[in-house]
Amino acid sequence: MANRKMSEHILSVPAAHDDIDYVLVRAIAQGDGQALDKLYARHGPGLLAYLTSRLGERQLAEEVLQDVMLAVWKGAGRFRGESKVRTWLISIARYRAINAQRRRRLQQVPLDETIPAQEETGPKGLLERAAEQDELRGAMAHLPVEQRETLELVFYHGLSGPEVAAIQGISVGTVKSRLHRAKKALRKWLHTEESSHA
């Protein structure tokens, strides 16, 4: 118990301030447009993935991403370096995405995951595994948005528990239970491998 508390405390200490992202944000706060370009190149893809997942629609995600970069430009001076730059960017993106959804009154539909066509060549094991992967991916697309978002924040953006909690506006405990529920929902597709091991 004491271990866990300590780990959570250590994870909330800000990263080194000469990290390149911090340097870029400081430059942006001073009006450096090129720094914004560089930040966009570094984090744009990740943010685009996040927004597409949240909004379910690529076109809208691209538009919101532009809004996010404008918000970064205007708000860079307010960033105090208490969290990772990526965390800060995702928070902005999430806020903008929610607003965009509210404006559009979109229903939260599952992601349209077009599953790529299978290739006939290659060993059968590979093919089977690829098929399982696609099924798992399809199942993931049907998870509720909060669970899907949590998985992405943890495994694609590589954030810690407290960081995810800060972005989603929930407690660390809730983050953990969302992860747990997501895995439980995906059990059917995860267990196929287990049965083949047994």
Binding site: P45, S53, M69, M140, L151, V154, F155, L190
Partner: protein, 301 residues
Amino acid sequence: MHKHWQELLPFYVNGQIAPEDRAALKAHLAGCSECQRALEEWQRVARTTQSAAAERAHELPPLSPVIRAQLQPSPTPRQALAAATRLIWIQRTVILREGFVPALLLVLLLGLLATAGLGEQPPVALPLVGLVPIVAALAVAFLHGPDSDPAHEIVSAAPTNSAVLVFSRMTLVLVLVAGLSALGSVLLSLLGQATLGPLLASWFGPMLLLSALTTILTLLWRPAAAVSISLTLWAGLVALLGRELSGRPLVQVSLQPLLQPRWPLVVGQLVLAGLLWLLGWFILSHEIHTQPQEISLWHSS
């Protein structure tokens, strides 16, 4: 309980686990097959999440032109001044192209000759007061006419506000007119025909006033109309002045102070001119913003 270990697994997979927790978990995994299995499942989830997200991250569009336009930081006063000076200086090619300078020189030369030739009988300032404002007003009117095509090519090439461009051109023209007139005034004063200060003051205010007025009329109407109005107004004023000087005034108010203005009058003229210029700027900015934008806002690839 296993729950504690299992909760740590996702962060073990993504590397965000605390160092001491990592060591403890690693030790636990060595002896717990259930947690090992759970770890493999989490690793699968992680791989699938990553590949799905990575596909969504591809083909990042460029930052939109709208954002780029807003990326211009507000310059320091020194930078702004330097930029403004550069911009005004660049306009010289446009001015020179129009054949404006030779015409201007000719007119002012004629004015000087007339002044020198007339001697002291009418006040020295009269020709200058009569001519300089008109010349400036003419120049300014035809600078912002629909015939001034160079404006367009400069506008499309330079990322500058169109109102700024037009005004910078006007500034250059006025500087030119004022400069040449000042030179002429200096010559006249050197020839002993007048004192420099009052002579300069006599035409400077009216020059600014009349060109400001002409600018506004051009913006609201068109160059020819603006010029006609300004010309008529000023010619009328000069005629009244002439009559008064020759002893047959037409109006009750004396216009003579215009030829040798005192400080309050000069300041009043400058303030009024300034207000008119501001109004002109406002009209010009508004006019440009209501024109349809030709650039598309969203970059479509």
